[in-house]
Symmetry: D2
Subunit: 312 residues, 4 copies
């Protein structure tokens, strides 16, 4: 997720020019060894440049790692036309001093999200409705699916839909071919974030590694319980009294990536597997939506295999 | 949990004489293959004897097993002094016809509960406070512990306390000796139900088998996640966003018995293992109390490794 | 909601012929003074006719009113072609004996639901998606709105949409005229249930009285707090830490009808009114969907100004 | 809650000397008109004095009021023996510049809490158990009650108990006399915070005004619903599907003070008023405990009639 110490902001996020007048807000995320003076240095830096801090949240993990998210307004930045370069140079300088990794996101540069689906429509509908309602600050230039079923929904929201099936019987080669098609499309469209909205294919380790920490998956159990296939069936067998859903970063190890958000709902002995699937739909879409909103608001940072999720 | 088809009510529950005038309520629990006419037969039986059905709940499991709980008032039973024997004979007759297992509990016969604890006091306090407040219909003739620490709490509620330690270094023999002491005490006191209120010893398979389905344990995770030791530490490592607690029947397989009740609470990256332990205390005592109340109200029936928990 | 004592089933629900082979399930709802023998009489009646009771739930209110819902299978009813008439006559006979009000719903006779909306789309979308997913057993022959905005959504789900505006400046007369148009449409389409899915007009007392107990409204607060207009604004002003939503039967007194379902979500000082509105959308659609599902499954009975909501 | 602009820290909180070596942590709470540079000024100030910021949280209310809580370590403060005075002078200087109200709490100065109770014991037990478990950083030098019933519980935790009844039939005079006795005791014991743990007397307006913002009450409903007496009875009458509890600062207007914490629990038609009272007990003690913990951790600030509750 993070460039090298002192590196520039992620090249995947093209930055709109603040001179377009649309938005002059930005979010700075930093991660560094815990040391005295970090807060003061950053606050002083921004204040000195005429930026107004709107919100700041921080967290020091037990391992001695410091995380901070600063949201600020650069409307009154005093440095003239080249202000962004100045800002970034100033941050780089402080980052260097404290051994920081950092990322800077300008609100003008909206993230571009690809949604991957298969046949289930509830998460897709939910994301599209929230996006239309303005809840999710992103562009959705493409919906990709290994099945054609949901094309109509994409169309009703005016979002392009691409059917990229795995050719039946084509084995690992066929799967790799499909992944290559997907990656080409992601590259072509400048995608920043991949959302697996109940996408029913398991990606290869290579794909996962290349897209770790910008791929979000929704799994229909409260992980680490019921990793893998058919979690509701296994929850039924085990006789649990709550079922859950988990949104996490997809990594090369199945259902084992850093968890972003989880929630549960109560069930009883009366609930069949079908009832769990129905109740689970509500849970899956809510949990995925919350995780997505946090990520799109630049509130999520990764700490090993755990996440720091600042409030929006 | 169940006697043989047509068998009498559990001998562990001595039945008070309804002639004492205290209570004339009873609960009948039946389990049989799903067949037409069961409800009608039981309703007719009770009506014919002058009993008034106060509540009835039923459930047919997918496997074709029928469960029913009937709560009724026998105040107006028409059959004279020998009425209980008549009632039980009538039930046995119907049970025989439908291949029922059944248990009958008279309210006058309050269950006798042994609480087993180690050093943590929150679950013990909670049970004792609820018991004093009248939330739990049972007698608590003994608190047993492998540590002396909680004797003062037992004393402040006027409950006998027995310290039965495992002799350090005594190996499996020592453990078995302690279990034998516990079992002798349970037998002597006519205990119907064992509550492991954060008892930190693992019982032998033999002990568990002998006491399965009348031993309730509280485990500090949402099972099946984090079975075994140190669940909060492992929840922390995994980076989950909810922690849970599970009350279940203890069986010879660790943390794998039928689940009676579960609940969870949200945590965030800010919560250390210590915070989880603190938040978990509230969860553990609530979940254990709910499960215990359900069991004491004769609302819980076992269906393989799952439970049917009727509303009280 | 209930016909007279011993009266026939609601004439608003045309009953499909069981001979169509589609479904042979039915639900009987009864309400009567609490008396011994009711359960036995109904169980015996159904058993005697060859019906198989699948589920039965009952409740005796403190005021001495008895409620029961019985779900049964009439596939094996022994009485030949005229079986429904026989069944209904038998029920009427028992009902007469116990002073019962009763309603009988055959699964073949699906309820017809009109959805009324204004400009907000989240509840409408939610109902339509659930309906398409098979979660709601009903037909939706019409969406009625006082604004044209949501016509496109109706179209994308293939549901007829009727724009019936209140003519601006037409005063109470204009409003009454619009209500008359709505009622004519409801009558014409044989509507059984009206769902106010964030419909922003307040109906006249006359309209409400005529449609009480078959009109469900969703109110965006945990009633009785914040009845009437702008509940989120008032919740913000009061500084509450939870917001809620309430689904209730609309009656002539605003937001005071029997509550069917409620739920809440946590908020903090960080949540603006706009945040509450956003979070509230999730709550409103969930609460309305649960209430609607309960009503459509014939699980809701009215007890004065309170409801009995049996589990589905 | 707040002294005058630039005023000293609350005189009710005697400050232990940091030289005792126990704790060198402190919490600074500030409130001022929203202006650029506040964060930088405070961060710089603390950094300059050698203090290490451990956590910082802030909030800008829509009305343009800025709130911040800073937790810091003064172990390495560079200014020698008179360091606290230097620190406080430095803060006062910055506060003056920005028009800040501020309070500074040293961890060495533990708050002194008086618990007021009547006959119900569940909240009292809960606070005492949590206090013993180390969850609540405070001293509890006194439990005051208008009834003698709970003296035994106080004794079992070793806390002094004072029975201060309102003399029956003594009218408003008698009540005022009792309040005077209470206030004398609070004064004598140097009490910082009053907790009304189901204290069933309503204090006079004068008492409330004098103790506003350092008196916490637990009310057994989700305010603003069911203010005043018998909320569970009224909740039952209204037929709600959730019941709640609210912890708030007591003010001279009954149940209308700033809300600190709320939560709810689900109920159904089966729950009688007695069931609500039982379920409510769990809710009341949890909500009160969470509010108390927040206040004792210096996380709660008042914004008009609303609260800002920072995470601990």
């Amino acid at each position: 997720m993070w460039g090298k110490n002192g590196g520039p902001t992620c090249s995947r996020t093209p930055q709109a020019d603040a001179s377009d007048g649309v938005s002059h807000l930005a979010t700075l995320m930093v991660k560094c060894p815990d040391r005295k003076g970090v807060i003061a240095a950053l606050a002083q830096l921004l204040y000195g440049l005429g930026c107004n801090i709107l919100a700041s949240d921080q967290f020091t993990a037990e391992e001695g790692v410091y995380f901070q998210r600063i949201r600020f307004d650069l409307t009154d930045m005093v440095v003239g036309t080249a202000n962004k370069a100045v800002l970034e140079r100033a941050i780089a300088e402080v980052a260097d001093r404290f051994g920081m990794e950092w990322r800077l996101f300008y609100d003008g540069a909206v993230k571009r999200v690809a949604i991957l689906v298969s046949r289930l429509d509830h998460c897709l509908y939910d994301i599209l409705i929230r996006h239309r309602a303005g809840e999710l600050r992103c562009e959705i230039p493409i919906i990709i699916s290994n099945h054609p079923d949901l094309e109509g929904i994409a169309a009703s929201f005016g979002v392009p839909f691409k059917h990229l099936p795995v050719v039946p019987g084509s084995g690992p080669e066929g799967k790799r071919a499909q992944e290559a098609q997907i990656e080409a499309l992601l590259e072509e469209l400048g995608i920043d974030l991949i959302v697996l909205a109940r996408y029913m294919q398991i990606f290869s380790e290579e794909f996962c590694s290349r897209h770790a920490m910008h791929t979000i998956n929704i799994h229909h159990s409260f992980l680490p319980a019921f990793e893998g296939a058919k979690p509701y069936h296994r929850a039924y067998e085990r006789g649990v009294k709550v079922i859950g859903a988990t949104a996490h970063y997809a990594t090369s190890e199945l259902d084992a990536g850093p968890i972003i958000e989880q929630d549960v709902t109560r069930i009883s002995h009366r609930d069949s597997v079908q009832d769990m699937i129905r109740k689970g739909r509500d849970l899956e879409r809510l949990v995925l939506a919350r995780a997505l909103r946090s990520v799109l608001s630049d509130c999520v940072m990764v700490n090993g295999n755990r996440t720091v999720v600042f409030e929006i």
